[in-house]
């Protein structure tokens, strides 16, 4: 199956093993389905394999051994904030009365869940300077869509329907323009200036009475603080537009600066970035969307409300003195973004993380995230080009363009060589404005020793690239499979197993 003779972790597809009738006994045997329904509404066969529990356990255990995670090694993935996922968060999400609570449980019998959601929302409001948050959206992109729908509804409510343009910097994450297109907005891409920032004068050329929203992130995807942000938000407000903050980089500024104070009207958070929700191989995420006061009415439905209880124990924590309910009566709301109220289990995880830190702890988190990024940056610039040679925030970009010209070794090859050395590769080829880009975000949970190991690994790769480039372009050589034929995968799509 794979080329490493010692690869004991390979496992055939679950459909290729098993025997009909090799059943486990999770529930008692049942009567034939025809006892209950006529054959013509039933399926004639169910072509799924029966595998013993041992075989299933081995199968997935082996698959896990062929999977790299934060628990295995360092993830310098720019824009992803791959910090340690504390296990206490999962333990709290798995408390039976949290895990087994049905979404249609009446409010009176779900007070703990509602209190968790309310505390989380209040925390986000304070940390980021917003009037309210909805925990409804399921991911960052989902929250972006919600925010743009809110903007659309807000302008419609004011009769300003000629506002159909969304301004997006050329360094923006792809979800920004994609979300805008899903709302029927036209996207205007703004060229970053030579400092890698949004230039106020450039911006003023494209904003006007047809501007709906300007979407930005701060620090931006180059890891640079938009130092003219207050001028930018003022300019957009002056033409009657709204400012949206992409919260992907929120890890950089907690306890130090807040999007609300910068003038942002709308924002989202990726709690699977800043607030340690596990990435789980690509989700589930959680994307709270936050708004300033004038947009609260348009937030998704339902919204958690609170009021002081009739009789209170004034010694109790403030939220313990409240009672909570889900408010569905919201005439100006954009509606729900998803089937129930939120990715609640993730709200539990995020709140547990906040409890572990408090305001001081979260402030420290951001400071140390910035410290780690700058430490790597000043070491890496000795052997790789860093196009923006200034203090960065929680991430920075390096470019392999010079190395490519000199040796033919590209960012992709460096990334694959890092895999051989037990590191995950940084983000590659994003943002688009930096050629042969590597975006590095260490996060604050990595120790100096880990950073030093990474720096040395990268230095060695660059050195080898100069003396023996073939060794790098042949990477990875110590992983269970080598480079994949992606062209074949796209031209001859094989997306599922079929019998025979």
């Amino acid at each position: 199956m794979s080329r490493l003779a010692s690869d004991h972790t390979a496992s055939p597809l679950i459909f290729e093993t098993g025997q009909d009738g090799r059943a486990n006994r999770y529930v008692p045997s049942g009567a034939p389905l025809t006892d209950f329904l006529p054959q013509d509404v039933l399926r004639s066969d169910l072509p799924l394999p029966d595998n013993s529990e041992l075989d299933v356990v081995r199968h997935f255990t082996r698959l896990s051994q062929r999977t790299f995670g934060i628990d295995v090694g360092f993830y310098p993935l720019g824009s992803c904030t791959m910090k340690y996922n504390p296990r206490v968060n999962d333990a709290m999400a798995n408390l039976p009365q949290i895990r087994d609570l049905h979404p249609y449980a009446p409010d009176e019998l779900a007070q703990g869940a509602l209190q968790i959601m309310w505390e989380l929302e209040r925390t986000f409001c304070s940390l980021f300077g917003m009037a309210a948050f909805s925990l409804n959206p399921s991911a960052g992109a989902h929250a972006e869509l919600a925010a743009l729908l809110i903007a659309k509804a807000y302008f419609k409510d004011r009769g300003e329907t000629e506002r159909d343009k969304v301004i997006v910097p050329d360094t923006a994450h792809g979800t920004n323009p994609a979300s805008a297109a899903m709302c029927g907005f036209k996207v205007i891409s703004l060229k970053s200036d030579e400092r890698g920032r949004v230039g106020v004068d450039e911006l003023k050329k494209v904003i006007g009475p047809d501007t709906a929203v300007c979407m930005m992130t701060n620090p931006n995807t180059l890891g640079l603080f938009e130092d003219h942000i207050h001028e930018i938000t003022k300019a957009v407000h002056d033409v009657g537009g709204l400012m949206y903050y992409d919260g992907a980089n929120a890890n950089a500024l907690m306890g130090n600066a807040r999007p609300g104070d910068m003038g942002f009207d709308l924002m989202h958070l990726n709690t699977h970035k800043t607030f340690t929700i596990p990435h789980g191989g690509g989700g589930a995420g959680h994307g709270p969307v936050g708004v300033a006061a004038h947009l609260v009415d348009f937030l998704p439905t339902p919204y958690v409300r609170a009021k002081k209880k009739a009789s209170v124990d004034t010694n109790a924590a403030p939220s313990d003195q409240m009672e909570f309910w889900l408010d569905f009566d919201r005439p100006k709301s954009i509606g729900p973004m998803r089937s129930f109220w939120s990715n609640f289990a993730h709200a539990v995880r995020a709140l547990a993380y906040i409890y572990a830190n408090g305001a001081e702890g979260l402030t420290k988190v951001s400071q140390l995230a910035v410290l780690n990024a700058n430490y790597i940056r000043v070491k890496v610039r000795e052997f790789l080009e860093t196009p923006y040679d200034e203090i960065c925030r929680h991430e920075f970009v390096a470019s392999a363009q010079e190395l490519k010209k000199e040796t033919g070794v590209r960012a992709l090859d460096i990334a694959k060589a890092l895999l051989d050395r037990g590191f995950m590769a940084p983000t590659m080829y994003f943002p688009l404005i930096v050629p042969e880009c590597l975006m590095i975000e260490p996060t604050e949970t990595e120790s100096k020793e880990t950073l030093d190991q990474f720096i040395e690994g990268l230095r060695e790769i660059v050195q080898t690239a100069k003396s023996n480039p073939d060794a790098i372009t042949a990477a990875p050589q110590y992983t269970v499979v080598g480079r994949l034929d992606e062209t074949r995968a796209a031209r001859q799509p094989d997306l599922r197993w079929s019998r025979g």
């Binding site: 199956m1 679950i14 459909f15 090799r22 486990n24 529930v27 008692p28 049942g30 389905l33 399926r43 169910l46 595998n51 999977t67 995670g69 993830y75 992803c80 340690y84 206490v88 709290m92 949290i98 087994d100 609570l101 049905h102 249609y104 449980a105 009446p106 009176e108 703990g112 505390e119 300077g129 869509l145 729908l149 979800t175 899903m182 996207v187 603080f225 104070d261 699977h272 789980g280 191989g281 690509g282 589930a284 973004m337 089937s339 289990a345 572990a356 408090g358 001081e360 400071q367 910035v370 430490y375 070491k379 895999l419 499979v481 080598g482 994949l484 796209a490 094989d494 997306l495 599922r496």
Partner: protein, 453 residues
């Protein structure tokens, strides 16, 4: 608490950077400096965090009541082997598998998920998951709109009200109109005029849920299927209770070109509403329009079989504003849980679970309808949910049941004014005869008439 830096580390690193202090390092311009006191809970040690959350948990009495709640979130038995496997750190803390060489395990698991979805729905391709069944319906409608360019959608009123509300949220963004198919007296969709309506060629798609929100099997007959197909309208099958796919004929067999579903029933906890796991399956024709990630099998440079994210040029990180969906993060870990559930259960286990659901729900239906004052609202064949008419406001009956420690179901009047006297009740393999007896005893008292024997 999770930062490993010693004072020495910080000093050395600041020196290397050439900045005197952390505060100086993170300095921001004056106009945006934080000046407020932050209102955040005080930091707790881990043992205290556990105590705080147990305090929250204790206030969730709803989790320990006898419950007949379903309506799109189902209590099913989840073998403990699932959490042992799913919580392995490699799976839990992995990023999206863009670096395929070190993600072969996860990629293979998602390929298996995609395969399971195809086998269950009867369709050719499936993606790596979407957020939930409701957004799956919205994304499926967008696929249909992109397929034929039409700007209206026709959906059954018997589809889960939350799903229809989410579809409306998405359609409002795209200026797409939603028309409805009515519900018949028997609790299924009224398809009597569907042929005439789709013949106008105005609709991008027709969406039907089976089993529908009321628990009834609700599929189109051959004539309706033909009319829909001939008019170039895409038939979307919606599935909120994925377990039904193990028992009932596949949506492909009743003409669905796209299936938008929810797989929470496959081992994912109800967790007050999420995270769950949506899935989209479709015929080959819609391959280019299917949103989200796709895992494909290919060869590596040495000729070994291997797995990789493929057809990425459909997605937002390449297409940007030309992408048909903005979806980036999906529900990979929940999809993994669903895959593990299906692998452990197997065909035999799934049949047994389905059988138990059918048996328990029929036991519930028989017992409840034998009480004076309670009748079954519909007589259509059903899977594991029924609608009980209590002939007085369901809201009040439910409150009284709650006082007796029983969550009797969902008040249908919340979504359907004409069914304000009706309760939607689910029974699964975890519903015991004792639960049903307790419900009936309480209903007898509440509906205020003695039981017929």
């Amino acid at each position: 608490m999770y930062t490993p830096h010693t004072d020495k580390d910080i000093r050395e690193m600041l020196e290397a950077i050439g900045v005197p202090s952390l505060e100086k390092l993170v300095e921001v311009p004056e106009p945006v400096k934080l000046r407020e006191h932050l209102d955040v809970v005080p930091a707790l040690a881990e043992s205290e965090i556990a105590r705080r959350f147990e305090h929250f948990a204790k206030k969730n009495d709803g989790a320990s009541c006898v419950s007949f709640l379903g309506a799109g979130a189902y209590r099913h038995y989840s073998p403990p082997a699932i959490s042992v496997l799913a919580m392995r750190g490699e799976f839990l803390t992995a990023y999206t598998p863009y670096q395929a060489e070190v993600s072969q395990g996860y990629l293979q698991a998602i390929y298996e998920f995609q395969t399971y979805v195809c086998l269950l729905t009867g369709l050719d391709i499936a993606n790596a998951s979407v957020y939930d069944g409701a957004t799956a319906l919205a994304e499926g409608a967008i696929m249909a709109i992109n397929a034929n360019g039409r700007k209206k959608v026709l959906v059954s009123r018997a589809i889960h009200p939350n799903y229809r509300a989410v579809l409306k949220t998405y359609c409002d963004g795209l200026d797409v109109e939603i028309d409805e198919l009515a519900v018949r007296a028997d609790g299924t969709t009224d398809l009597s005029d569907v042929a005439a309506r789709v013949a106008t060629r105005a609709y991008a798609c027709v969406a039907l849920q089976s089993p529908n929100f009321f628990g009834n099997i609700d599929t189109p007959g051959v004539a309706a299927q033909q009319a829909i197909k001939e008019s170039g309208t895409v038939l979307i099958g919606v599935v909120a209770e994925a377990l039904a796919l193990a028992a009932l004929e596949t949506p492909a067999s009743w003409g669905a070109e796209i299936v938008a579903g929810e797989a929470q029933s496959f081992g994912v906890p109800v967790a007050y509403g999420g995270p769950y796991v949506g899935f989209i399956a479709s015929s080959k024709e819609h391959l280019r329009r299917i949103p989200g990630r796709l895992v494909g099998k290919t060869l590596d440079v040495h000729g070994n079989e291997a797995y990789v994210l493929t057809l990425q040029a459909r997605e937002q990180h390449i297409r940007r504003e030309r992408a048909t969906s903005n979806i980036c993060t999906n529900q990979a870990h929940c999809a993994l849980i669903a895959t593990m559930y299906l692998a452990l259960m197997g065909k035999t286990g799934l049949r047994d679970v389905a059988s138990a659901n059918l048996a328990r729900s029929r036991e519930l239906a028989t017992r409840v309808s034998s009480l004076r004052g309670c009748t079954l609202a519909f007589d259509a064949p059903f899977f594991n949910e029924i609608v009980v008419n209590v002939h007085q406001p369901a809201k009040d009956v439910l409150v009284k049941l709650q006082e007796r420690g029983i969550l009797g179901g969902v008040n249908l009047g919340r979504y359907y004014p004409e069914y304000a006297d009706c309760i939607l009740m689910a029974a699964t393999e975890l519903t015991s005869s004792a639960d049903i007896e307790a419900l009936c005893a309480a209903l007898e008292e509440v509906v205020n008439v003695p039981a017929r024997v």
